[in-house]
Symmetry: C2
Subunit: 161 residues, 2 copies
Amino acid sequence: MKLSTKGRYGLRAMVDLALYSEKETVSLSSIAARQDISEAYLEQLMAKLKKAGLIISSRGAQGGYQLARPADTISVGDILRALEGDLDAVKCPGLSAEGCQTGDLCVTKYVWKKINESITDTVDEILLGTLVKESKKAREKHSTISEKKNIRESCSAKKEK
Amino acid sequence: MKLSTKGRYGLRAMVDLALYSEKETVSLSSIAARQDISEAYLEQLMAKLKKAGLIISSRGAQGGYQLARPADTISVGDILRALEGDLDAVKCPGLSAEGCQTGDLCVTKYVWKKINESITDTVDEILLGTLVKESKKAREKHSTISEKKNIRESCSAKKEK
DNA sequence: GCATAACCAAGCAAAATGGTTGGAATTAAA
DNA sequence: TTTAATTCCAACCATTTTGCTTGGTTATGC
């Protein structure tokens, strides 16, 4: 019942990309460096995002990635589905079909349906654009404090996992 | 991002137990048989449910399991947490603490929080008692049709996975 | 042409999943 | 008092998934 690093890293990469690719393209290595993710691994995630049509790339020198469409038209659900595949927490054969109404055998499908819906609803509701705006706001706020308190240090010390 | 068989089997077992243990205790083997789950595996799930205080057991001949409290006071969340552990889809160090407000690095935590909350809310809202009532209703409905159409067969044919 | 990029395919260790195996302890009934 | 039924317990194990790494190949701007 855990979201894998694919989803976690990938969403961070997309936010990063949205922040830095407004005019120019952004290289994989720069995202990897800023987000502290292995380049080779991130590459695989970018491939998935590209295949899903969320980002575009240009090869060769000065090449890199950009969002395929405005950040306001990309939902977190789009991103997570591209990376993790189907987000359904439970795949029950009876969920879409009619079958399995046989009493106690399948009341649980009601539960799985509710869980799936709640996840889908929440991730589809949050837009990349919103995250970008939040991020910019947080950055401004932070830069005014950062001279006095070095929060950054205490933060990056807590490595994920 | 998938619920494991622990959660799926375990919830089914709990519904089964609630349905059949109103007066007498119910043996592991009878639940396993009705729900078509391996006895030895279900045993491990029952151990978790017992440890979590959701069911009680009596050993020896004629022994078995019963709910520890009324089905209306047990939520699906209680059951799933007992079986799967923590239901948080993402464990971010910055989620509970103050840290990681450093701009783009951590806007994603807002997303993880929302996802976690939506899952928790939905599973805590559904009570075992409700499922039991639904199940009884479905069973009645079914028994009136079952003589003409044998839905049961088409259902059990679709084995999970 | 060469440095800088994206692209591609495979391999691989560690962890998690979904069980199985083989018993030991307890208890009601015969 | 035996015996059958039952929970309890502790390993073990095969397979799959995860989270990467390795070692290239193509494409392109300067």
